[in-house]
Amino acid sequence: MSAALLTALGAVLLFAGTGIAAVVLLARHGPASAPSASRPSPTNRSLGATSARAKRVNANGAPLDSRPSPTNRSLGATSTRAKRVNASGVARWCIGSGGYLLLLALVARGLTVRGLPLSSAYEVSLLTAAATALVYALGTPRRPAALGGVCAGSTALAVLVLAAGTFPAGARVAQPPPTMLMGIWFPLHVIVSAAGYGGLLLAGSAGLLRLLRGKRAKSKLDTLIAWGLAWGYPLLTLGMTLGAVWGWTTWGRYWGWSVKEVLSLITWGLFTLALHTRRLQGWKGWVHSAVLTAGLAAVLVTLLGAEALARGLGVGMEYVF
């Protein structure tokens, strides 16, 4: 099966997953299910929770009070909720499978050129889209599934569409990697960084939604942001360090202030700032969301716009990944 077909199938699955997650989300916040919107989310049960938040269940998980609870959902107590959970599960499955298909597309490209398929920004974009989908499908909690599906699926899809639109057809053709990109450090740098970008894209898109939605579903979005940062930040840091080691072995310098390097540093700095603002009094509201949104934009520009930016500024780039 050709790489292009696998990429297209992956995109279709991402689209389907995002659509299903969006429908689940809309249904949940529709007028018919208004009481569930006021249900305390699992993340509300912090140390400071009041007794009203506690729920009572017997040993079999059946509710002792009438309020619907996450326990009811997980044990399949009501059919409507079971359907919603299943729909969210289908969305998660679609998005995860989309991620796997994008990885398979990269493997197919690698088999075509008989080398590691990471020699162009388009291939790195494919890897990042796959990482975003897989971080959501495999690396985040089951709840909030629908909200996470909307964030991860739409972002991965956006990366794919933007990559297809940004890079001309010639640049999307698989090419054997040049000598400069051989060795162990470059693939390690790219794979770890792309995995990091995956987590950060999830956190950034949740931040954008948090900025747009105000206080609605804030705790669920905060959960997604925390998991996105937990995946993305350490991996991006490690990826940048590996990139520095690659730079040292290739050019005798670990840092060169090229457009790509400055953009990476801006991305890293924005998410470092986000880690500090999330608990900072006076900054943890819209400022935190705005910083995450700026981080999302920075990741997208670093991935897709670095080459165009360097051309526009009239400076050369030694590499574009």
């Binding site: 140390l47 929770a49 729920k55 996450p70 909690p141 709840r143 840092w255 470092t272």
Partner: protein, 284 residues
């Protein structure tokens, strides 16, 4: 005792509060990001070119930017990453990081190593974060131990349970900040001490030029060390925050209070629910 207002505190205390403030960290990061953004869009003199290369770069830049380049040059905006302003911001961030780490080290160490409080006041258990009926002591123990919780118990009626995971994880934040410290130290050392010069050129008469560059950069070690420490520290702090759980079991009613990061709490409660919902002897 009345808490003195910030203005009434001695100067050294106010200075220490300022240096250890996270708001100062956020403002410094914002300023550094602003300089990076300016450096991205304004022409920057490349340092790794020789004299002829630099002259060619200036000529090309003059052609492209015209009078604007003179304006940028007059404002010292053409070498932002090597400028005193940028190095001063990095030095301030270095100092802030060091002070923040020192200020928290004692508290984090005590938090990670002190003996746990095994039992909360009954009033705290009366307002649990989560509770379930018809739970046996064996089922509660099994559910907690299944996911690697370390269990301490106070036997009696009611029966109190204290459980914790990743006790040393708070020290991850120390590693993270130590990593950031080494990163910034490396950038400063690089900015002040790093040199690069052509060492040998041979064979030019034959039409072949072999140029060997001597590179001296004392910051490579701190850079790599910083990256690894930061990555390990951030992983510990973000993935494995210390998790604590207090429970009271009284005539089959399990009442649980949690002391953990909220995103983790949702997962832990979901796991506990699933485990307790399983029949005795069921695996999973």
């Amino acid at each position: 005792m009345a808490i003195p207002s910030p203005a009434a505190r001695p100067l050294h205390q106010r200075l220490w509060s300022f240096l250890t403030s996270r708001k100062v960290t956020a403002v410094l990061l914002l300023l550094i990001l602003l300089v990076l953004l300016l450096g991205l869009v304004l022409p920057q003199v490349p340092h790794d070119l020789d004299a002829a290369g630099q002259a060619a770069w200036w000529a090309a830049a003059h052609e492209r930017y015209g009078l604007r380049l003179d304006f940028y040059q007059r404002l010292s905006l053409t070498d932002l990453f090597g400028s005193a302003l940028f190095l001063a911001l990095l030095a301030a961030l270095l100092l802030n990081t060091l002070c923040c780490t020192l200020a928290r080290l004692g508290r984090l160490w005590r938090e990670a190593t002190r003996r746990p409080v095994l039992r909360l006041p009954d009033a705290a258990h009366d307002a649990p974060d989560w509770q379930a009926e018809g739970i046996s002591l064996q089922a509660a123990r099994r559910a907690l131990r299944r996911w690697g919780w370390r269990l301490h118990e106070q036997i009696g009626a009611p029966h109190y349970l204290y459980s914790e995971r990743w006790r040393l994880a708070p020290l991850g934040t120390v590693l993270t900040h130590l990593g950031l410290f080494f990163f910034v130290l490396a950038a400063l050392l690089h900015g002040v001490l790093a040199t690069r010069e052509p060492l040998l050129a041979a064979g030019a008469s034959a039409g072949l030029v072999l140029e060997i560059e001597a590179v001296y950069d004392p910051s490579v070690g701190p850079f790599v060390a910083g990256g690894l420490l930061l990555s390990i520290g951030a992983s510990l702090s973000l993935f494995f925050p210390r998790r604590r759980l207090w429970a009271r079991l009284d005539e089959g009613r399990l009442q649980v209070r949690l002391g953990m990061e909220e995103p983790a709490a949702a997962e832990e409660i979901a796991r506990l629910e699933r485990r307790l919902a399983q029949p005795p002897g069921g695996s999973g």
